[in-house]
């Protein structure tokens, strides 16, 4: 009896050791490459650290500086505004474009698969290639987009070289609003909406046909069916895409670095939080301050995600009730 129990124990502990050995590479990588930098950056955010000399603890000085810049709209404040503008505009437009395209691409028409492939293609283009392509397309002087706009009598914006913001302040009626660098980045992000579109398409396929049939029997038109059946059923996916979209938008770096001469040009109109962190850390050698921004970014993202989760109970509908 005892021999059997100890043998079972041995087998059990042997399995645990085997399991631990299997997860060891991942666990080691997680500890060294994720957890340690995470913890170290939290400590550095309370330090002055220039990479060349050991970090020196300065308490909350970096966070006080962030608060000061936020209030004055300089540096961090400017980056927060630029990032918020880009995130809100790109996420809202991505949802609208993604849902709209997905609905259209779900229609049973000849060549449906080809259309789907065409709209998905931009999302597999590498970010660097896409940024260079858009810099050419949106060139104020010789770009294709302005060529077309001018041809149909519309004003030609300066796109990546303009400091203007089309969406804020909302004064379209004054005729002074114009697309600027952030709007061009938003346009570029909406062009790559294919990833989200595919998820919407999959979700559309999951909506029970019986709901549409019942609504049709009740005399509901296309618009009513879209509003009362399609949208509520898509809402969990829209919610997921909004959360992911906000995270991606706030972390956007490569395309911003490329179009802004690596410094937020023109006139800091593309100085996003990620670029601000990069410049602070690797050009100004203010690793402590950069870590503090990174942590604020983390907190803001956490708060935004929590707020989205909180709001989801009012507009996200799960089939069969809440998850």
């Amino acid at each position: 009896m005892n021999t059997g129990a100890s043998s079972t124990r041995r087998r059990h502990s042997g399995r645990i050791v085997t399991a631990l050995l299997f997860i060891a590479p991942w666990a080691l990588g997680f500890l060294l490459l994720v957890l340690y930098p995470f913890a170290a950056s939290l400590y550095w955010s309370f330090c002055e650290y220039d990479l060349l000399s050991p970090p020196r603890f300065v308490g909350g000085a970096n966070y006080r500086r962030l608060a000061h810049e936020l209030l004055n709209g300089e540096g961090f404040g400017r980056a927060v505004w630029n990032t918020a503008y880009y995130a809100v505009a790109s996420v809202v437009l991505s949802v609208l474009a993604g849902v709209g395209l997905a609905v259209m691409l779900s229609w049973k028409v000849r060549g449906q698969a080809i259309y789907r492939a065409i709209f998905f293609l931009p999302s597999v283009v590498p970010t660097v290639a896409a940024a260079v392509l858009w810099m050419w397309l949106l060139d104020p002087g010789g770009g294709l987009v302005n060529h077309w706009l001018t041809a149909v009598g519309l004003p030609a914006p300066n796109w990546f070289k303009g400091v203007q913001e089309a969406l804020w302040p909302p004064d379209w009626w004054s005729g002074r609003a114009a697309f600027g660098s952030k709007d061009a980045l938003v346009l570029m992000s909406v062009w790559g909406v294919g990833n989200f579109m595919i998820i919407y398409l999959a979700a559309l396929g999951d909506i029970p046909k019986s709901l549409y049939e019942a609504a049709a029997l009740d005399g509901a038109g296309n618009l009513r069916r879209f509003w009362h059946i399609t949208l509520p059923n898509l809402s969990p996916v829209i919610f997921f895409n909004i959360v992911m979209g906000v995270i991606q938008a706030v972390q956007a770096f490569t395309q911003v670095y490329l179009v802004s001469e690596g410094r937020g040009a023109p006139a800091e109109s593309t100085l996003m939080l990620s670029l601000h962190i990069f410049l602070a850390a690797f050009q100004n050698l203010e690793m402590g301050y950069a870590s503090a921004i990174a942590w604020m970014l983390f907190v803001v993202l956490l708060a935004a995600t929590a707020a989205l989760f909180h709001s989801s109970r009012y507009w996200v509908h799960y089939q069969g009730g809440s998850p």
């Binding site: 002055e48 220039d50 990479l51 060349l52 000399s53 020196r56 500086r65 300089e74 540096g75 050419w136 060139d139 104020p140 002087g141 010789g142 770009g143 030609a156 300066n158 990546f160 070289k161 303009g162 400091v163 203007q164 002074r176 114009a178 690596g262 410094r263 937020g264 040009a265 023109p266 006139a267 800091e268 410049l279 690797f282 050009q283 100004n284 050698l285």
Partner: protein, 464 residues
């Protein structure tokens, strides 16, 4: 084993063999016995890299004590690599840089002053030997932290054929420059042509258009300064404000959006060719490297039997009370990272390249081959370089400016990268925003930002 499995196995085998195949194409040359290696990091590519390799080979042939190994790497992350190498205790022996980082890195203890590797007498002779701008670029708190090996000077290139066509002459004052900008027509339509006819009345050229980045140069020409006698940053110096106001007058006149769009168009020319050659401007500010482009374009015109366009170079014209022969200078310089293994060998290589201490003829050859401006009159006077100047008469104007005392670099102060970005962003705001604050307000704000940055830096430096 079926055919598919056999094919898969073969592919895997080939891939593995390729992965572990010894690299025979790019083997490093071994350090000759009895010589000490000098690791040299630089960022030159293309044709310039060939010139660098040639200089290194010439140095190595001339030596029996040191052996330089040049390592090229992308310029945009060279800084970070260096800091990690310094922190890790294995920095290169010498690096080449062209950003205004000397004081910043020196104050952080990453660089070794030349005084620690050269004798006092040698340093004094070096100061005498160098052009003032070459000293300014590497001096921090009275010590030289680097040795300049080439200067970059800005001047005005003008299309003399175009100026003559409209009865104009090269500018000798700001008023002349403004007059040229005014007189050169926006396009080739007859003056009484209706807008919308022909090429649509679209602007295809400017006589002259200031560039926001060039506030660095114009401020000095207007009599301005970036730091006071105590080393404090004074971006809002009255003359700096006047310079920015003058630059902004162009964007107010033509409209900031028009100016921005036209400027951006310069960069979308095929092969990013020089906009002066494309006929987009009558006058453009640029550096000495454009003389090659002009010579090549004239040669092409000649070969094609076209009339050869006449170009010229002149110094930046001053306003009344401004400074003649002034402007903004930058350049390339060697730096000695602290903690390097063979700083003495690096110092020998630096002297060889820049031409100091009997290496003038070698440096003259280097500068002529690279199209670089020497850092000393002693190199300029060498027969090899004089022959080069006879072939490139426009280049001579830049070389003459290199010796002038008011060719000033971005201030060599800690935090200069921040300062540089702040000044350029301020000029961009003033020139490209629809309703920007006044130039004075913008420069005051920038000055305060920089002062705060420097205060933080100094507090950090003062704390043990």
């Amino acid at each position: 084993m079926n055919v598919r499995n056999a094919a898969t196995a073969l592919v895997v085998l080939l891939a593995t063999a390729l992965l572990f195949w010894p690299d025979s194409g790019d083997q490093e040359e071994a350090v000759p016995a009895g010589r000490k290696e000098v690791i040299f990091w630089h960022f030159w590519g293309g044709d310039d890299r060939r010139v660098v390799q040639d200089i290194v080979a010439r140095f190595n042939r001339s030596q029996n004590e040191h052996f330089v190994r040049a390592i090229a790497m992308p310029g945009n992350n060279l800084d970070l690599k260096l800091f990690l190498a310094v922190t890790g205790g294995r920095p290169p022996d010498v690096i080449n840089q062209d950003d205004p980082i000397v004081a910043d890195w020196a104050a952080r203890g990453a660089l070794m002053p030349l005084e620690e590797i050269a004798t006092q007498q040698e340093c004094e002779r070096l100061r005498e030997w160098l052009f003032p701008a070459a000293v300014d670029l590497c001096e921090h708190q009275g010590r030289l932290y680097g040795l300049c090996n080439g200067l970059d000077i800005r001047a005005l290139y003008y299309n003399n054929t175009m100026l003559k066509k409209y009865g104009l002459t090269p500018p000798r004052s700001i008023a002349d420059l403004d007059r040229i900008a005014e007189k050169i027509p926006a396009n080739d339509l007859p003056a009484n042509a209706r807008p919308g006819g022909g090429n649509g009345g679209k602007r295809i050229r400017f006589g002259y258009l200031p560039d926001a980045r060039r506030l660095w140069a114009w401020a000095i020409v207007f009599g301005g300064r970036w730091t006071d006698d105590h080393g404090n940053v004074v971006l809002d110096d009255e003359a700096n404000i006047r310079a920015l106001q003058w630059m902004t007058s162009y964007s107010r006149k033509y409209g900031p959006r028009t100016v921005t769009a036209f400027r951006q168009g310069d960069q979308s020319l095929p092969g990013k060719s020089f906009p002066l050659l494309a006929g987009r401007y009558a006058i453009v500010m640029d550096g000495q490297w454009r003389t090659r482009d002009i010579a090549a374009a004239q040669k092409r015109q000649q070969a094609q039997g076209q009339p050869v366009t006449e170009y010229g170079v002149c110094p930046l014209p001053p306003p009344p009370g401004g400074r003649a022969l002034a402007g903004w200078v930058n350049g390339n310089f060697f730096l000695l990272p602290r903690g390097a293994a063979n700083s003495q060998g690096a110092w020998e290589f630096m002297k060889f390249w820049s031409g100091f201490d009997g290496h003038e003829a070698d440096a003259a050859q280097t500068c002529a081959e690279g199209g670089w401006i020497p850092v000393s009159k002693a190199v300029v006077d060498q027969p090899r370089f004089q022959a080069f100047l006879r072939e490139q008469p426009l280049f001579r104007e830049f070389v003459a400016l290199a010796a002038e005392p008011f060719q000033k670099p971005t201030p060599i102060v800690p935090g200069a990268p921040f300062l540089y970005r702040e000044v350029v962003s301020t000029a961009e705001s003033a020139m490209y925003e629809d309703d920007p604050p006044a130039a004075r307000v913008l420069l005051q704000r920038a000055s305060e930002n920089v002062a705060r940055h420097l205060k933080r830096f100094n507090r950090r430096a003062a704390t043990p």
